[in-house]
């Protein structure tokens, strides 16, 4: 069920909450899908749509054939998930059903699926009763640190962490060394993910060359190389003019512009949220307005350019309010928040522990409530982790000198499910914000269990209680603010292209 976004906001209407789970259709009415089969003419092979995006984008026929053969040979294991609660927001489906995965593709979904004994022979049957079967989760905001800071994380370790957390696609931010501001770096990231990645990697290019905020990068070339979006994440685009041009120019290539909304002068020297706790601790504060001033600007520019902007890591009540208002007027804006912004407040910093230092900073309890309300009414479309690995060298120092950022891939899912238990989101909405919504925003085809699409799928035990142990994470880094916390809900298995990317299931 497609949802038309324009003029949709009706705060006191429950209608909207249901609609929120559908894929997003922009005002043009064109559904943005990354559909390999449609892009390449001639229909070389029937497996076309199963191919990794890279292969298709590069248009290398030999490469394509190899991939197709791999698809034919590699998917020897087919799966049948029996009796799981299948939650597929893109298709508005939520019921106990069986899911059949054949040759890496979602072959069938239906309650009490009849599968002939003959066909069942080559199929691994997995009892998913009591579990959720969902589209593979999509994290539209992670830092994989490769190239350049491989001691913090690599594409290999980061994607393993992702798969272990239930994510089958991650969009990686461009603030690597070198910066992902040209096709060569984008291609490197994709090639490395293909060799070593445990899940799909969706590279995000820089808006400005070298993240310097001076000149635009070549959006066309980045798009062609496989970048799904552009951003200067980690830094704001301080020049209003450059941001305006980015939003205009991005329209040519239909590439998403992601805004890291921060006014550097208001945030200068800040270590944590400005509030009572910062006064108590004698730490310089970052006021909410440091984020909101930039959100306001980006909304104005999106309106001016008829472009579309995605606001990353929304942390304040004022940002939520302004985005809500802009959406109600049909401005092309989407937004994400991160689990720590709806779970932790700035009071956590009371012991000066740098693990709670991030940018934007943990905010007040009122902001947490506003972020939850924004998630509930659809103002905030997506939940992304902003997975930002740092080693002890950057983190185990005095708080003022410590790097900003927390890891999140292996702790996000139980915190998102916490919103369901709290009654903030329905299960369908929660899964939408971590799969189909980010997919639609980025314009990629994952995040759906539609028949015939590559089987990116996650099996979740929503009930399992356990203690989060950062020392057992697949990520190279340990800067997890939830370490030692008792949580509920865990990803048991992640399939990417019908192959097991990660499994904790007893098979």
């Amino acid at each position: 069920m497609a949802v038309r976004r324009r003029g949709l906001q009706n705060f006191d209407s429950m209608r909207f909450r249901r609609m929120d789970s559908g894929p997003i259709v922009w005002e043009s009415g064109r559904k943005r899908h990354f559909d390999a089969g449609r892009r390449t003419r001639g229909g070389i092979l029937p497996y076309m749509e199963l191919l990794p995006a890279v292969a298709v984008k590069h248009g290398n026929v030999e490469h394509l054939k190899t991939c197709c053969n791999n698809v034919k040979r590699g998917c020897s294991v087919d799966f049948l998930f029996r009796n799981g609660r299948v939650i597929d927001p893109a298709n508005n489906f939520d019921q106990i059903a069986d899911v059949l995965v054949v040759n890496g593709v979602v072959a069938d979904i239906s309650p009490m699926l009849e599968v002939s004994a003959e066909r069942l022979a080559g199929v691994e049957v997995i009892d998913a009763s009591g579990k959720w079967v969902t589209p593979g989760l999509v994290d539209m905001h992670v830092h994989l640190r490769e190239p350049g800071e491989e001691y913090k994380e690599t594409i290999e370790t980061g994607t393993r962490a992702a798969a272990a957390g239930g994510f089958t696609s991650v969009a990686c931010m461009p603030n690597t060394r070198p910066v992902n501001d040209c096709a060569a770096v984008t291609e490197f990231i994709l090639a490395r993910s293909k060799e070593q990645g445990a899940c799909r990697v969706l590279p995000v290019g820089a808006i400005s060359k070298g993240l310097k905020g001076e000149a635009l990068t070549e959006f066309g070339e980045l798009r062609e190389a496989g970048a799904v979006a552009v951003t200067d994440d980690g830094r704001p685009v301080t020049s209003n003019q450059l941001m305006r041009r980015a939003l205009e120019y991005a329209k040519v290539f239909d590439i998403l512009v992601i805004s890291h909304a921060e006014d550097l002068s208001l945030a200068e020297g800040g270590v944590m949220n400005e509030g009572f706790t910062s006064t108590l601790l004698g730490l310089r504060g970052i006021p909410n307005a440091a984020e909101e001033v930039m959100v306001a600007r980006d909304l104005l520019l999106a309106e001016l350019t008829h472009g579309r902007v995605h606001i990353a890591h929304v942390s304040t009540e004022g940002s939520v309010r302004m985005i809500r208002e802009a959406k109600s007027r049909g401005v092309g804006v989407t937004a994400e928040t991160a689990p720590h912004y709806f779970t932790l407040s700035d009071a956590e910093l009371i012991d000066y522990d740098p693990v709670f230092k991030m940018n934007p900073p943990l905010r007040s309890r009122d902001d947490i409530l506003a972020v939850k309300a924004g998630l509930a009414d659809g103002t905030l479309d997506a939940i992304a982790t902003d997975h930002a690995p740092h080693s002890v060298i950057e983190k185990d120092v005095e708080i003022e000198f410590a790097a900003n950022g927390v890891i999140g891939l292996e702790s996000a899912l139980p915190l998102i499910l916490g919103l369901v238990r709290e009654g903030v989101l329905t299960p369908m909405e929660a899964i939408a914000k971590a799969s189909s919504n980010p997919s639609s925003i980025l314009g990629v085809s994952s995040g759906s269990l539609r028949r015939g699409t590559p089987a990116d799928l996650t099996v979740i035990d929503p009930e399992l209680r356990y203690i989060l142990d950062a020392n057992a994470f697949y990520s190279k880094s340990r800067n997890c603010p939830f370490h030692g916390k008792e949580v509920q809900g865990q990803a048991l298995m992640a399939l990417v292209d019908g192959k097991i990317a990660f499994s904790r299931m007893h098979r």
Binding site: G282, R284, E398, E400
Partner: protein
Amino acid sequence: MRRTKKDLLGVRELEVEEIEHILKLAASLKEINTRPIKKVPTLRGKTVVHLFYEPSTRTRTSFDVAAKRLSADTYSIAASSSSLVKGETFLDTLKNLEAMSPDVFVIRHPVSGAPQRLARRTSVSVVNAGDGMHEHPSQALLDLLTISERKGGFKDLTVAIIGDIYHSRVARSDIWALTKMGARVLACGPPTLIPPHLEGLGVRVYWRLEDVIPQADVLIVLRLQKERQQQMLLPSLREYSICYGLNRRRMELARDDAIVMHPGPMNRGVEISPDVADGPHSLILDQVANGVAVRMAILYMVAQG
């Protein structure tokens, strides 16, 4: 009184009884400083390391004098000569020093929370000699001693803290100390130098000096760092001095028995005029003398711990 905590990190964590105990101890130790031979063997064989990551004359000397009068062996490490310059982390430096078995670290650090973080990782007693904009407990305790000597107590006492509250660790420690002891605390300064939600600490905030002077039994004037002007917090030192400087004309508004204090170092002519600093209301040098006694009490308490 038995003390279970090994460190003295801030006034916030102190119970009223602990504060009273330190003040009583300081008052009795103060007598040593008037003897011809100013030394007692109380901390003989104990090692105190002063680790100052920020320039300091008064506080470092005061702690050093205090430790030596109690017969402790003292070593001083200054930031410029330390291995910080060579790239060693604060924690590594401390761990190396810890391996030499000292009994007390006296730490001054420019980052708020640095001594707290260290104290959790060492078995050595840590005394906070000022961390960032957070706390300066020995200063607050010597201020309490100075006030109580002159005023006899804290009940029904109104204390005004004037100036750059935002950047002041002295202000935060004084606010904790005075409110715990039952005094009424007023904070006065331009809004750019008042931290948000300061009222949450139990103080009343004023922007105009004329409003607080007549109410105050005690006026604590804070140092104004000259760089605040560059940070867009003030238009000029001149205007600050005109609006917030404590001078003789303003002191005419004060009660006859009002006392004036300053944690030092003073910018004469900026936050305080020379005639007030050296005038009859001023207890600024009494504070310095009491500083040694209070620091003797603190070292005695943590080293005997």
